[in-house]
Each structure stands twice: as C-alpha cells, then as structure tokens.
Symmetry: C2
Subunit: 193 residues, 2 copies
C-alpha cells in the first residue's frame, strides 16, 4: 500500500459517503485524536471546506482552536476498536494514545498529526468563526491537502467492491453499533455533483 | 410497514451513519425535493439540530428561506434512481416531481412536504443565520419531529442486517456511484455518544 495525494478537486469523495472519522490536532507539542460521526463536506473547489462538530468538553477542540489546524482521517473497518477507544476523552485518560498504541505520522510540509494506517486523510486550516464554535460547536476548515491509500482509492474512486470488508469504511450509529460500507450501486444518469 | 414516531432523543441515529438524503420544502403552494449528500447532525437533545448545504442555485433553497421549514428524508437503496432524478434542478425541469412520479404526503401538524416511501424523516425549523447561508451555503435546522419505517428502524435501532439490500440506505460518492449501507459491526465498549 502507499498513500497517494488526492487532488483538491476530488477531496470531497473521501467523505461524501458519510463515514465516521477521527479528528486529530496538535498544539504546544501535545497531539490528540478523537472520533466523530458528525463531519461533512461544506464546499468543493475553488473553496474546498469541511465541517465537524466538536463538543466543548473535547480535549481536541482546544488544540484546534489554539493551533488553527486539524485533520480528518477515515478509518478502515478493521480499526473499529481504535475508533471506539478514540471516543474516550483524553480528559478521562491522559494516556489514551499510548494505551491504544496509536502511531502518529506527518505529511511533508504539514505539522498536523495523522493516525497511521487509515484509508484517507483531509488536512485543514480552521476558519475561525466564534459564533459557530460557541453556538453550534461547529468548526469549518479550509481543505489544504488530501491523501488516500491506493489499495482502496484509485483514480479518484473508492474501490470497495474489490477489497475485503475489513478495508471498507465505518458508519457509526450509536451504542457501539457501526455499519460498514456495503456494495456499490451505479446509476447511469449522473448527478450534477 | 408503518411510519412510527422517533423520539427526539434518538433522531440523530437516523442520519448518524452518513446516508445521502433528499431535502424537501414548500412555499406559496410550491413544493420541491432535492438530493443532498452534505447533511449532518449538529446536536442532540436538548438542542436537536441538523445541517445541510444548499447551493445558491438550488430551487429548494429559496423555499426553505421563505417558509422557514424543511425536511430531510433518508431514501432506501431501491430509490437510487429517484435520488439521482431529484439531483436535477427544478430550474432546469419545472416538472421534475411529476415527471418522476414523486408522491408527497404530510405528517399530522406539519405543513412540510415529505416524499412517500422513504426509510426515515427529520422535520426541521430553519435557524436563520445569514452569515452561514451566504458564506458557506450552510443551513441549520432545529429538529421538530422524526419518523421512521418500522420495517428497518425499531426500538431506536436500524435493522439492516435483517432486511434485503434494497431496504438499506444510500451513500453517494460522485458520478452516479453509490454504496449501500453494509453489514453491521458491533463493538462492546460503548462510545460516549
């Protein structure tokens, strides 16, 4: 496998299908990772943007507010236990990354921590909007770069129908219940988005 | 089948797994429906909220701005052709609802048009926020009520593992390519959300 850059014209495809993500950030040498089901595309090029809801109690929220940067990563189905573990707050377990064997890495040119071995990554600069942060816990980021694992995302398309279930993505519901991304379904008439 | 009310404490489960939705609204006797991949939960009770991105060119956007109400509906996989058809703008085809045989209905007490035979519905009152509408095409709604088809959502849980694929949901990527909601995966340790 190898991570490949995904053009900003196609970054939205990495989360368009609504997968559960992990959010990562770092400030003052402290990195953290949290799981989030509430992340979404906001816009394409020429203004590529994503949104994510970050509760006021989330340790990672402060790292994002202070550093101005964050990343969304799209875990594989085989990482479901890690996603659940990253749903625990670092306020409750300061060692949650090391306890769960989380390996971080960095993409060239970006000081945003990324969780190893996910299917895709979207690196963002926070658009500071105090109203949205305070009233809705809503954080919008300008997308700076995107990467995906070429086993599952090639030529701008997910390849889920040709890989085992463990390399699909996760879709969280509640109470520890996920669904994994299922079979492909193609409609010939193409939507305008 | 029968539509059952879903408590506002559990409405988020209807879209937490990231399905593609259809957005509906009505103003001045004119109803419309549009497909949207960019919809998301914003908050739980006591402030149940959802977000959806509505392009400035969308006919439905104006209906929502003028009436102050909208609904999200979660289509079944078998409705994929309808979802693609509702991706066409009413500006391009004023007859898009009748041309595609869309049947609308109303829930008691709400004057928001709903598309028949979807798996779930979330009825909302728009929170007017001109900055978010203009800058991000972002519309946030307060959730007023929710309903789901009891063949696929019972006791607050989706039942996808016990129904045929055609009764799963849709997850849109791009270019007419969807994935349907796949197999369930349960992790014993429960996330705090």
């Amino acid at each position: 496998m190898a991570l490949q850059a995904v053009g900003l014209d196609k970054f939205y495809r990495l989360i368009n299908h609504g997968p559960t993500v992990m959010v990562s950030a770092k400030d003052g040498g402290v990195a953290n990772v949290m799981s989030a089901a509430w992340a979404c595309v906001v816009d394409y090029l020429p203004n590529p943007k994503v949104s994510v809801i970050l509760d006021k109690a989330a340790f990672t929220r402060r790292l994002i507010e202070q550093s101005g940067y964050f990343a969304l990563q799209v875990p594989f189905a085989k990482q479901a236990n890690l996603v659940v573990a990253m749903g625990e707050s670092r306020h409750d377990n300061p060692n949650k990354l090391t306890d769960n064997g989380v390996e971080l890495f960095y993409a060239d040119g970006f000081d945003i921590p990324l969780v190893a071995e996910c299917s895709a990554y979207i690196l963002c600069r926070l658009i500071a909007e105090p109203h949205n942060h305070e009233k809705h816990d809503l954080f919008i980021g300008e997308v700076l770069a995107a990467f995906a694992d070429d086993r599952v995302f090639q030529d701008g398309r997910w390849q889920f129908d040709s890989v085992p279930d463990e390399l699909h993505n996760l879709h969280y519901v509640a109470g520890g219940q996920f669904y994994i991304t299922g079979k492909g379904l193609k409609v010939d008439k193409v939507l305008p988005f």
